[in-house]
């Protein structure tokens, strides 16, 4: 059992991992990493390592789950047994089921699902290592995987969390801050449409703090969005200079 640190932000305003209150953890994004999936992406965000594979649009099995006038998105969020310090049973937990639902609902607004009726798209999220903010990192990668699958979208969905730690609103909580902090506010956002597609909060915040946290999270989202676009372009940019 680790000892709980007394303060999560020190006198110099630095957090346990040395970050300032509005600093993102390091991020790495890669698109098209799974040869068998129709679309895929891999993200490292802080110590989070998450892989997403997308299959579809394709016929749904079982067929009775398909809808006559639209494409159905199914989302499975799953954590590997070794992703957390205490081994987690591979069986889906209630938390994973809820996260599958909210992640799906964060991606649905981005997709033109009336274009392909009677089909389904499966989004499989596998968390290989978790360190706070897995749902946000998952959404960021899942959106890239959907784009990689060639599914027409209104915008990429990007996600980032903010929260309250000690007495300050901070950006991008890591695991200890998530567990020991005062509040955690994950936000998913489509920048071109100014649309929030996921918003949750646990903890206690005044309405003013909530607004501050949402704005901080959206700023984080915008920075990550630029990285998403870069990752997509890198994948599809091929040999630059070709001899004439």
């Amino acid at each position: 059992m680790n000892e709980k640190p007394e303060k999560l932000i020190d006198k110099k305003g630095l957090r346990l991992d040395g970050r300032k209150i509005d600093e993102l953890r390091p991020l790495k994004l890669e698109v098209g990493v799974l040869p068998n999936a129709d679309g895929s992406a891999y993200i490292e965000h802080g110590k989070n390592k998450i892989l997403v594979g997308v299959f579809g649009p394709r016929e749904m099995h079982p067929k009775h789950l398909s809808m006559a006038d639209r494409m159905v998105i199914r989302c499975r969020y799953h954590m590997a047994s070794f992703s957390v310090p205490e081994r987690k049973s591979p069986a889906p937990s209630r938390r994973e089921v809820e996260l599958g639902k909210v992640i799906r609902e964060s991606l649905e607004p981005s997709v033109f699902n009336d274009l392909y009726p009677r089909t389904g798209v499966d989004v499989f999220i596998e968390v290989l290592q978790a360190d706070g903010g897995t749902r946000c990192a998952s959404i960021t990668a899942a959106s890239l995987a959907l784009a990689d699958a060639g599914i027409p979208m209104r915008d990429l969905v990007v996600a980032c969390a903010a929260g309250k730690v000690d007495d300050q609103v901070v950006l991008d909580l890591m695991d200890e801050e998530d567990k020991l902090g005062v509040a955690d506010v994950p936000v998913a956002y489509m920048p071109s449409l100014n649309a929030i597609t996921l918003l949750q909060m646990d903890g206690i915040l005044t309405p003013e703090e909530l607004e501050k946290a949402i704005n901080m999270a959206m700023d984080g989202c915008k920075k990550i969005y630029a990285m998403q676009k870069e990752a997509l372009k890198t994948k599809y940019m091929t040999v630059k200079e070709v001899e004439e």
Partner: protein, 263 residues
Amino acid sequence: MSSLITRVRKLQIAQTIEKGTRLDGRGLMDTREIKIEQGLIQKAEGSARILLGKTQIVVGVKIQAGEPFPDTPNEGVQTVNAELVPLASPTFEPGPPDENSIELARIVDRGIRESKAIDTAKLCIEPGKKVFVVFIDVYVLNHDGNLIDAAALAAMAALLNTKMPNYEIEEGEVKIKQGYTQLPLKSHPITVTIGKIGNTLIVDPILEEEQVMDARITMAINEEGNICAIQKGGSGYFTPQQIVEASKIAQEKAAELRKKLDW
């Protein structure tokens, strides 16, 4: 999870709402009539039944001795489960909890847990070994929309009604004595769910409106007017401005309801 609603009806609902009223005569910010009955299940330590319009939910609270979680060895445990009972709606099927009932349970749980409604520090029997576990079980008996608010209200009402058995430790075993004490509560959170149809926000959506709305946002508010849980749901989205507006509405409605219920 919806029974069929015709396109014509959907249009009708959307158009009426755009004009500022709803098909059941309510204003955009009006909650349906609420009736709460407590103590109906004598075999439970606490219980409550709510009628929110035609939505009907019964919550039973059972208290048993159990083991604490390793990271909170001296605190009681709270656990919430929700059942979307098949008799409540033609769309509910028997079986293990699906994502809707899991989400419902976890939202209700969050509101109670984050507001520290249950004073879990007072539920310790033997530090590190035995604590009281508070089982909150939500049974949806009729679905006419806004299960979240109804369930959260009924759960809180059931907790207010809950009595813990008196006990003593005899040779390491918990022995139940005569008499009861009220479950120690520190807060009475109230949950408000707001739906979005087109660009209009409405409070307490009825089932038909839920079938038309493209997103909902739920906020749990405590006595100080602070927010202790938020959950956006549905396959639509909110603009940041709409979120701010929703949080103001949630605070107002929570305060209004708090006064009415005298919580």
